[in-house]
Symmetry: C2
Subunit: 324 residues, 2 copies
């Protein structure tokens, strides 16, 4: 997925969010400031804050309230990536060295803890317990998802349902609550907040499937790291699960994954990548992503016809615009 | 410090807390349940919940509200220990293998994340934003303290002030807010909550100094791990800082610490432990711990004369009752 540059109308407020993001983690401790800013400075689409602000458009939009949801959600996303890179033993993210690579695992762990704490601290400035509840619940679910991911590394027997449950926790939930909390922080109607949640949830599912497709089908320049890094670390994603259902390549792909596992990923993975690319797994994954986008668009039917609704539609279509 | 067995009157409610502690982290995911319960099952003094309940005695005591502060505080403490053991590369805690030793660092990291999340989720059942704010702020401070600790490993140039700042963040703050939040959750007067905070803060400082003394002066049976584990991992504690100020042993102790550092702690530390034991560092550390206890007792003067006040006094005295 390419950069989101379709948010002209939100650009000014996203600049506010960007400044607040930086400010939120500066000042306490110079080293933590540096390690925490490291990933944020490397960029990222800021998808979660954008969704918060768009959710806010369906209520009484106030950037000075919305920022206490938008910034924390990006921070939580960021903290989860910092911890994720420890687990994945990843050296590169967004085209730059990861915190764990530039410093070490211990520093990455506490950097993540610090960013999580900061996120929560900021949110509590909004004295709305419901928002705190939704956020805390999501953090629990995310950590369960991460644990499931560790457990499923190199598990070639997992089915599609298991994969979907995992990406639900890992990705979709945080995007769903970004949409929902934006609406709630702007005191929008509860039904609108629910529709925003459903929109975000389905876009999030499509987004993660698309991301997993990109890891197989994209170029190093597009992804910011070499293709095939999922299979290298044993992350059995949807295209792989589908490819393994293809009797023509199942045996040889299993052998290839076994070989990668035996080498702990420290070997050439291009043959496995090639096999997945040429399997029916790509088209089937794309079809499922498109189905989620269809559901996301359907959720929009519940929303009033303001300009933001059109932008949400654009994002939904944008998510599955294939660049590979 | 030996087991706290002076809380006869609170015993019934501490049983409620113990059950809630277990229940809070069961059920979501069998592996996370197992890893999360692992440390809790190994015991612990449950000092933070006890302080919450005692704080509650100064307001309208209600165990069904207080548990949503008491359980989270013990969980946060527990999560910080699980992450701490990754950093310290510790194999034993409370006489049992650590999560990172029994499973691995990655699992320990997410187990900690999960427990933190659960703690927050539970607290949000109390719809009191002030409580959420205090808790989130403490978590931020704790992670800063942990980072400081990493940075100060084997730093023999640190002074007493730096040590005190670090243990403030690492230990005292959480004990202080346990006392304070207990009072606040029971709608006690704000001045009472502040006095409880000061009591907890000073007891916490004394408690950590005492703990650091025990690591040098205690037996393996008392500590649940071999003595000298602080110096082994490069944690320069108060008795060491004071011992290094002793001109008679400074040079030889510095050499010993340098040797331990060069061996990454994988060597005999008994000579260093012996030197610290025989230095003036022990008596000076004890004197400082006693001074904090004096301040804690003074904070109690602000509290009404109920039976709990007497118990708090007992705890304060108990913390510095030397068993070595």
């Amino acid at each position: 997925m390419k950069r989101l540059d379709i948010f002209g109308t939100l650009k000014k407020d996203m600049d506010v969010i960007e400044k607040e993001l930086y400010r939120s983690i500066e000042g306490d401790d110079s080293q933590l400031g540096e390690t925490s800013l490291h990933l944020l400075k490397a960029g990222g689409k800021r998808l979660r804050p954008v969704f918060v602000l768009m959710g806010g458009k369906f209520g009484s939009y106030d950037i000075d309230r919305l920022k206490y949801v938008a910034v924390p959600l990006e921070l939580i996303h960021s903290a989860s990536l910092v911890h994720d890179d420890v687990i994945d033993d990843a050296d590169m993210r967004r085209g730059k060295p990861t915190v764990k690579a530039k410093w070490d695992n211990r520093i990455a762990m506490y950097t993540g803890d610090y960013i999580y704490g900061k996120a929560l601290e900021l949110t509590t400035r909004l004295e709305n317990p419901q928002i705190h509840q939704i956020l805390a619940k999501a953090m629990v679910e995310m950590s369960i998802g991460e644990m499931e991911q560790i457990r499923d590394f190199f598990n070639v027997d997992q089915n599609v349902t298991r994969y979907l449950l995992r990406i639900r926790r890992k990705t979709s939930l945080l995007i769903a609550i970004s949409c929902q909390l934006g609406a709630l922080a702007a005191d929008a109607d509860r039904r609108i907040a629910s529709a925003m949640y459903r929109f975000g949830y389905n876009v999030g599912m499509a987004f993660q499937i698309q991301d997993d497709l990109l890891d197989v089908c994209g170029t190093e320049k597009q992804i910011g790291k070499p293709p095939g890094s999922d299979i290298r670390q044993g992350n059995i994603s949807l295209p792989v699960i589908y490819a393994l259902e293809d009797p023509g390549i199942r045996i040889s792909l299993l052998e290839e994954i076994e070989r990668i596992h035996a080498h702990n990923g420290l070997c050439d993975v291009s043959r496995a990548v090639e096999m997945i690319r040429e399997s029916s797994g790509i088209a089937r994954s794309e079809a499922l992503a498109d189905r989620y986008i269809g559901k996301a668009l359907k959720a929009l039917d519940q929303l009033p016809d303001i300009r933001t609704k059109k932008h949400l539609k654009d994002i939904a279509h944008f998510v599955t615009k294939r660049s590979y």
